[in-house]
Amino acid sequence: MLFKLAWRNIWRNKRRSLIVLISVMVGLIAIVFEDGLSNGMMRQMLFNQISLDISHVQIHKAGFNNNKIVKNYIPDYKHVESILNSTPDVEAYSKRVFAAGILSSASNSSGVILYGIIPAEEARVSVIKSSIVEGNYLGSDKRGIIIGKKLAEKLGVGVGDKIVAMANTLKGDIGSDAFRIVGIFQTSSSEFDKMAVYVNAGTEQEMLGIGDNYHEFAIITKDYNNITSIKKNLEAKLGSKYEVFTYRDMLPMLIYQMDLYKESMMILNIIIGLALIFGIVNTMLMSVFERLREFGVLMAIGMKNSRLYLMILFEAFILGVIGTIAGLICGLLLDIPLAHSGINLSIFSASLESFGVGAVIYPVLSLGNIFNAVLLIPFVAVIGALYPAYKAIKLEPVYAINYV
């Protein structure tokens, strides 16, 4: 009966209740939406990094990561390869020669990371092949090179132009080689596009004088959620001569940034929650003051204050529950199509690209966060009703009855 009473009281002033409902709904939609967007953005940031050069797992000679010099090449890459081939978790891998160097055109020069790759292998672990916007992906041409669009602009070169790459050789002198640009790529990260250039592994090995050796294995696993156990497994098989890094190890800043982002989203949610609370405080106060007389009658016929208090909280709770359900439905209806089509944020894309996100965000809903919001909002509504309900029961029944 108390439920019945609360329920009918809610619909008594339909407009006011609708306003509360809508604000709860909008709050929830905002939370669902913003959660989806931020999740999508963070995932994209991470996936983009992974698909550029990081991959899921990298293997080097122990110490390489701290000191990326030419002589720190992998001691026995065939051994590593045979281990990877017999590890079922491994989906694909790419062997890379790595050298920090300088790329010069006739007009300009720029510091770069010179990757020596086997084009077919690299195509399976990174996004470079599909990021070619001009010319072609790296083929068997020994003098071919592909560079990022930003770098090409900086050097003032285009497809077919010649450039010279320089890097320290194993012996310690400077090796250099002339290349012809066969393709230009553009990825989600303009920073990356300024830095990374790709040539055939054989050519770079020759230039550096490291025989047929490589510096890096970039590995894509079948399930990146299992990354820690895969890492342990590989470490055990490879022994201490090698170092195994996961993307989490290699992207500490990004992981940190993502955590930070999550926290800032939480703060945003708290702000939305607070706004909701104030909205509800306001509406419930109005509704309480409108009904003081009635509360007086209820008190007179023997309704205990605590019960009256509960009834008012109950009204807010019901409003919260209805608003949550409606908001959740609307939020999902809005978000699910967007999760497929993506949200085009190209207006902001310059900044997003330097973030490594890309212009189109695909919202990703995290069930956990939505679940939390759904559980919390009815209680937020109750919190908003605490004060109005308190005001209602503070009154002596006689004043309430005489209140007009």
Binding site: M1, L5, V297, M299, I301, G302, K304, R307, E396
Partner: protein
């Protein structure tokens, strides 16, 4: 048997800092089964007195004993319990909970007592039948006339078998015929169920039917 006793009741309101002596020393004894009308000009203190007797407000001075217990010393919680179990109220207007139907309004006080759903439905219907308002059961207050609402209010006031029913000008908003019906009803409940009634009125018709008349003037009881 004495059920209610007021001793030297004084009520002073503060009206913007100006003290208003609404009651100046009321002494009153009420026995079970009495049917009392409090009359007096506007501002004489009728509402104030009824509110004090019903424990809706506290006196500035004086004592009120209900069934031998001093209710001026009781806490809010005990008072609402007492009102629920022992008292019934009828107000001049806006008595009923607007979102509940007539029968739900009557059931409400039984619900507060924790009487189970089916029992209270049955009891409410039986009472409405007795009061001749059965056909109002599913109407909301705004679908009823003032007289009908007051009769439902009487039903609500007596459904928990109270010792005492207090009514502040219950007929004030009714025409004389309707008021007459309401008085019939209350008189019937008084004689049949031995429920004590105290109510206030301006109305000569009502005053004429009083079994005991108390006349208030300037916050004191006028000697006859």
């Amino acid at each position: 048997m004495e059920i209610l006793k007021a001793e030297n009741l004084v009520k002073v309101y503060q009206d913007n800092g100006v003290p208003v002596n609404a009651l100046r020393g009321i002494n009153l004894s009420v026995s079970k089964g009495e049917y009392i009308v409090i009359a007096g000009p506007s501002g004489s203190g009728k509402t104030t007195l009824l509110n004090l007797l019903g424990a809706l407000d506290k006196p500035t001075e004086g004592k009120i004993y209900f069934e031998g217990e001093d209710i001026t010393l009781k806490e809010k919680k005990e008072l609402s319990k007492m009102r629920l179990h022992k008292l019934g109220f009828i107000f001049q207007a806006y008595n009923l909970i607007p979102v509940l139907t007539a029968i739900e309004n009557i059931e409400f006080s039984m619900m507060l007592l924790g009487i189970p759903d089916n029992v209270r439905k049955e009891k409410a219907l039986a009472l409405m039948d007795e009061l001749g308002i059965k056909e109002l059961a599913d109407k909301r207050p705004n679908e009823m006339s003032g007289g009908q609402q007051q009769r439902v209010a009487v039903a609500r006031a007596i459904v928990n078998n109270p010792t005492l029913v207090l009514a502040d000008e219950p007929t004030a908003n009714l025409d004389s015929v309707t008021a007459g019906h309401l008085l019939d009803l209350m008189e019937q409940m008084n004689t049949e169920k031995n429920i004590t009634f105290i109510f206030s009125s301006h109305d000569k018709n009502v005053i004429d039917r009083a079994k005991r008349l108390i006349i208030l003037k300037d916050g004191t009881i006028e000697k006859k």
